[in-house]
Symmetry: D2
Subunit: 344 residues, 4 copies
């Protein structure tokens, strides 16, 4: 399996992660990097400065930035790291021209005929692709992954669904990288908490229902769960920590939940980006910790810990790497699923 892939929005925080993660990928080869008008024609290394702690692969640094034009890009699959305000239209252009788009942008996520996928959670929703193509008359299609804060939550909820989840409350402590390179000023975050991230709570509260919903003929019937989120930004670089309360209609205690976490095996080991353990259960009281545990499974594992009985169900901590499992890595895993399932 050898597929040509391109990245839309290649110069931003998520774009750089795509490049880092796709370097030496066994199935995918980067054939194009596209970015906004003002960077077109420059070589990649002369655009935004590289801000990851591994070196920019030399060969990639020499790529010429292409325009966001499906005709100028030769790829079986494009990964979109575009800002949401422009993603909707550009991604549609690519899909119309027959290209498969695996998008990290929020623009198309909640559209009825667009699959919102976490392979370990709801890969059967991928059948929406056929409906989408038929309905829109496109040769290509768009598939999306959830918001960075939704992914850690939903992956940890998935093994608990068998107990009949009724209510979920989640308070997040989110890393600054989630807002992009210039999204959070240092003056706003040093010695500080910002108790608000625009649109974030709504995303967690709606995307969760679609992800945990079931295919009902040609659409997804949202799960009937109540979700309430409080989203907060704190001064960590990478890694979203979430404090989660879950109540269920069947009896559940901490031991049940731990067993469910331990037994969870989505059978996806054949996908190159799938980690050894999707959920890593920590037994120490003081874990997971953001800096120490965000890179488990090369950033694709969700850490779960402090699983405790609560007056009405259980409570626990989940931690996931927001720009890997929560963004670039999520879209790449979706791309791998597309490849395995023959969609590209």
């Amino acid at each position: 399996m050898n597929k040509k892939v391109a990245i839309l929005g290649a110069t931003g925080a998520v774009g750089q992660r795509f490049i880092q993660l796709l370097d030496n990928h066994p199935w995918f080869e980067i054939t194009g990097l596209a970015a906004s008008e003002r960077n077109v024609g420059k070589t990649y290394k002369d655009t935004k400065k590289w801000r990851l702690d591994t070196q920019l692969p030399e060969e990639i640094g020499e790529y010429e930035i292409l325009p966001m034009d499906p005709k100028k890009i030769d790829a079986d699959l494009v990964f979109s790291a575009l800002p949401s305000d422009v993603a909707g239209e550009i991604e549609a252009n690519f899909a119309k021209e027959g290209v498969a788009v695996s998008s990290n942008a929020s623009a198309n996520r909640m559209k009825e005929d667009v699959p919102l996928i976490i392979p370990e959670v709801n890969r059967d929703h991928i059948s929406l692709i056929d409906i989408q193509k038929e309905k829109r008359g496109w040769d290509g299609f768009i598939i999306t992954n959830p918001n960075c804060s939704t992914i850690g939550l939903v992956l940890s909820l998935k093994p608990l669904t068998k107990f009949g989840i009724e209510e979920v409350r989640v308070a997040t402590m989110q890393a600054v990288s989630g807002a992009g390179f210039d999204g959070v000023s240092s003056m706003d975050i040093l010695d500080n908490v910002i108790p608000y991230i625009k649109g974030e709570e709504e995303k967690m509260e709606t995307e969760t229902l679609k992800l945990l919903g079931n295919m009902d003929k040609d659409r997804v019937k949202p799960a009937s769960i109540k979700v309430s989120a409080g989203c907060h930004r704190i001064g960590v670089i990478d890694g979203h920590t979430e404090s989660i309360w879950v109540s269920t209609n069947q009896k559940i205690d901490a031991k049940d939940a731990k067993n469910a976490f331990l037994m969870f095996d989505p059978q996806l080991k054949d996908l190159p980006s799938e980690p050894e353990k999707v959920i890593f259960l920590h037994e120490r009281d003081d874990r997971p910790q953001t800096r120490l545990d965000r890179n488990i499974g090369r950033g694709m594992t969700v850490s779960v810990g402090r699983v405790r009985d609560d007056f009405d169900g259980i409570k626990y901590i989940a931690l996931s790497h927001n720009t890997i499992r929560g963004a670039a890595g999520a879209a790449i895993l979706n791309g791998e699923l597309l490849a395995r399932e023959g969609y590209i």
Copy 2:
């Protein structure tokens, strides 16, 4: 009103706050500073280094450290900033000898005959003093204030009690100063979250019930509320931020809650440490912020913001200064209440 006060445990993080807040206090004059054995006899400025960002009052710096011995200390009231493992016995020694003790330590808080007081919340519980003195045959007595993370929560819950609070869930983002000068290593908190603070969740879950309980003859009948806490340490210096969900047995929406916060007036303006507003309601989405708002009301005000409707009640943010409103300032306010009520 002019009372002599002493501080037990005067060299620690909370001890230094006591000195800072009592400097130029209109009612109280510091007549003694006591600390552990190894510091006795030293002048205060030669013990632990002063780590507040105001200067150590010069005169206080020259005080000689006294032993924790009620006979060696001449005071109408002692404030205790002792670690809990030694506080129980030492505080009792003082009370036996006829001294009034206003303690920030947890050792005695939950004892049936010890008042646990926030003046704006449950000052009628002060009558436990008479029961305590009689029962124990002491001339003095012990009064306590709650844990730093409990105070912000309970002050913000108080105005909501009229709606019949049933369930409370709270996720904290707590400052490092709450653990004392050496409580949190820098290697543990830079670029990190520690999702565990020993004993903290239990304190929030039990103290809240005592504080919101009612006097029932000679004891406090705990409130019948369910409280579940998740406590997390983050890299801010001062200020505990709390993300709170409240459900009530009467209908409540965000507007009701905001009105309750705005109307809250505990009628305590005659106490010198009482701030202009006990609860400050923020209307901007991105407030309260730890660094910007922790000092409102000289650190004695609880900031409340982001009051939102929830699927089962409301949710909001509370912020309070953990070593002022949550520790030294709380004990001083209790001391002022004792003075006004004639207990000292």
Copy 3:
């Protein structure tokens, strides 16, 4: 003495400091706040969010933002917190129209007929005002204060000039507030050092010579000192710490230098913003510390410590508050000097 003052660039990080420091100023009353086109006509509180940890004075919050037009502003003195790229022209417009301008911008600092003043260092340079007015045919004039990193250095060098300073090397550890609200991204500074601040080293190396130079007829003859600066940004909010090496042509040791720091008295106590001590000498090895000492003298004092013998002179640490002593406070002190000397 009661003067009307206005602020140009009132919405930025330094603009907010001007408002904070001028609130209740004994000599100056704010009569106008000007900002860029897009904010003109708005009320101040509806422009950029207030980001200081004291509350925005309510009355000031209601001011209407004025355009940068001398005809629309009624003031004896304007303080300029403008970005350097626009400051040159706008400040000249005000001076032409007869207004006195005390500027924190770098645009005009090094011009031959513009005084660059630290009152405690070179207030005799103020006579350049008369030369400037005559040469340019202006009714008003411009006076400037140095760059934030220069001020701490030069104030600490001043008492040492009697030993004949020959060479100065300085490594800075600068706060993020020096770059304005959005100048440093959190992703660039958490767990990081940026070893470069554009233009900063050149400013330190040239402004120092002008400040320590002597009036020679109608111009300043720069001091013949060699200055070499290395400027670094670190993750602190406020306060520039500087590690300084000084060699002199007369013999100097740490004791001499300490005496010089202790004896330094610029005789300016009649200016309202002048602190009790301009230079505070710390004797503890581990001081000055940024967070603990930046606010000494309400942010107008320079802390000096760790004065040590070196193989070729002395070395020491200087700390100053970059947006108070290093910016808004510096310009206000210059304004006070203008008022006392009858220039306004």
Copy 4:
């Protein structure tokens, strides 16, 4: 080549790095972990919590902690991560019993017959081993590496020695990990700089002379260079950044220095821990940056940047990883040198 190695002080910050770096080492196999009395007999994973962001190798986690007794440890070479106050005696005990000791502790570094080695700088000093063994009548011996802040400085000075270094001034910005897990309290470093590290400046000023000195018969004649250091602690996890001024007796400019850095090749590629480039020269103005560049060469490369002309020589920035190149990695590289040279 297959050598048995043990670690003394295996539970601390540097001890954990040894374990991390020795995992899968091609020449060395860990056969023993020793720690202080109170941990002896425990399994490693039950001692101090593991605080690196890679997982503790499972097999190592099961090792039983041994006492610091040469008779209980079976190793060709022991690495010492002991605190200096106990290192002197314990290391001597091992050397007496015939064991080779590669120590990161400062206790023995400046002793006349103990080699202080950076392989790329002064590997000929290794001949002191024979002198040491003879003089002391030991079968084993002690070899040391320099202090974490010295290593980055001296590695970057080495290529410049051909210009005749006369004076060096260096201001450090040092990471908290250099002080061990509990060495720096979070309250002391958040939003702060501590301008003092006990003993650090003296170490930099003396070790540098020994390292750059020449073997003169049976001892090292220190280099006749003047070194002056200012050491400062800041809030970064790992990586010491140093701002360095060098003056030489031959003419030197930035271009000369850059060439020297680029051409530097110590011919040690056959040692497993030797990085591809010992010195990495950065050309961007804003590099090296601590978080982004500390891991170049798996933490064994020293980054150099901002090489500039100065009034009296040159100035530049050096960055090195303090617990890898500056501690555990340094001792391991010395161990590899011992193996190659047949000392073990």
